[in-house]
Symmetry: C2
Subunit: 215 residues, 2 copies
């Protein structure tokens, strides 16, 4: 059965899921790269980027698990790129180069229509303009019975949480303070929405949480 | 040299330093007791409450360290008690019974004057009505060269942080979600205020952080 999941989503100690002022130079906002300090050294990430080393252990287990059985992704537009407003052309094809690390259909939430963009390695970006429920339906059709991973950013995940559409989340609290940016928890009453902490594992690099929706 | 410190201040995974609706029945707001789940089992707390057992280890080390070399405390009024507005009488003498765990002068921030209240065991509550800088001066005079511990709550600590009056803080992130309450970090740009993460230690019960002010 298809689950809707969040994996390896990093937040700072002070609760930000991205720094301020996202731009082409700072895809995660200013200072936001520090959020992934636990992820970059893992074998999972190193292999994604063509290396063959990388650390194994708790962090890598979480990182690797995040790519298992994923049949489709959903991304907010800002996670797809820094372009705002109507697409001036189709030149922006994501942050990840010609062979993005998805290898399955990726639904991008946007208010501005655009034709699907087929990339190397099995990734196709589909642009959905009629909201998160529609995006979820299209992801469900595309996922072929596998899971749907909501990649981010903060605002996208929060929208899905508010409608109780996510089955479980893995969050990684990174050892950094951002001071400003996009707050993940503010105004989001997870216990009232039916989410419980079901697992907590700390490594020297991150505190990993699993939040699970009550059935 | 006297330092101004925060120790063993607990926040939830979603960043709340107290639950909502503090009352006589819920000194830490609804659900707020879960914030101290790491602290209650420690030998330090057990001894404070007359027991002679309790756990040693990482959590206890932090708990014990918080009581070392403290010459005076500063508390916000809500941490002193649930009474709001002018004091109807002097019957409320804190949450802690006749022998509170301070054993030194305790400055209570309030907008309503009240005579000092002398308790057993060396604790005297002094009520200061002219703001945090005045409270700090009085604590300084009382501390006799030892440190001044800001006990809380959230709003009090945030006021001292905004004015860069705290030298270092130990925060404990507890494995709980409160969903609402008093947010600790919201709108507080700790890096811009000159605070850096200088230590992070995880136990199964809490993630302990030390934040230190740049000199």
């Amino acid at each position: 059965m298809t689950k809707v999941i969040v994996r390896s989503f990093s937040i700072s100690l002070d609760g930000y899921g991205a720094g301020p002022n996202q731009s082409r130079e700072n895809p995660l906002g200013i200072g936001g790269m520090a959020l992934h300090s636990w992820f970059f050294p893992t074998r999972t990430f190193q292999r994604m980027t063509g290396g063959d080393g990388g650390a194994t252990g708790v962090d890598d287990n979480f990182a690797a698990h995040g790519f298992e059985n994923v049949g489709a992704w959903i991304l907010g537009r800002n996670m797809f790129g820094p372009v705002r407003g109507p697409w001036p052309d189709e030149n922006w094809r994501g942050w990840w180069g010609e062979n993005p690390p998805y290898h399955v259909p990726v639904i991008v939430l946007t208010q501005h229509a655009r034709a699907a963009t087929r990339m190397a390695g099995g990734t196709t970006f589909h642009f959905v303009t009629d909201g998160i429920h529609s995006a979820l339906e299209q992801a469900m059709a595309a996922a072929n019975g596998k899971d749907i991973r909501i990649g981010g950013g903060v605002s996208t995940i929060r929208q899905f949480l508010r409608d109780r559409l996510i089955d479980d989340l893995h969050l990684a609290i990174s050892p950094c303070l951002l001071g400003s940016g996009e707050p993940f928890f503010a105004g989001l009453h997870l216990p009232e929405l039916g989410y419980r902490l079901t697992e907590l594992v700390s490594s020297p690099n991150a505190t990993h949480l699993i939040l699970t929706k009550d059935v």
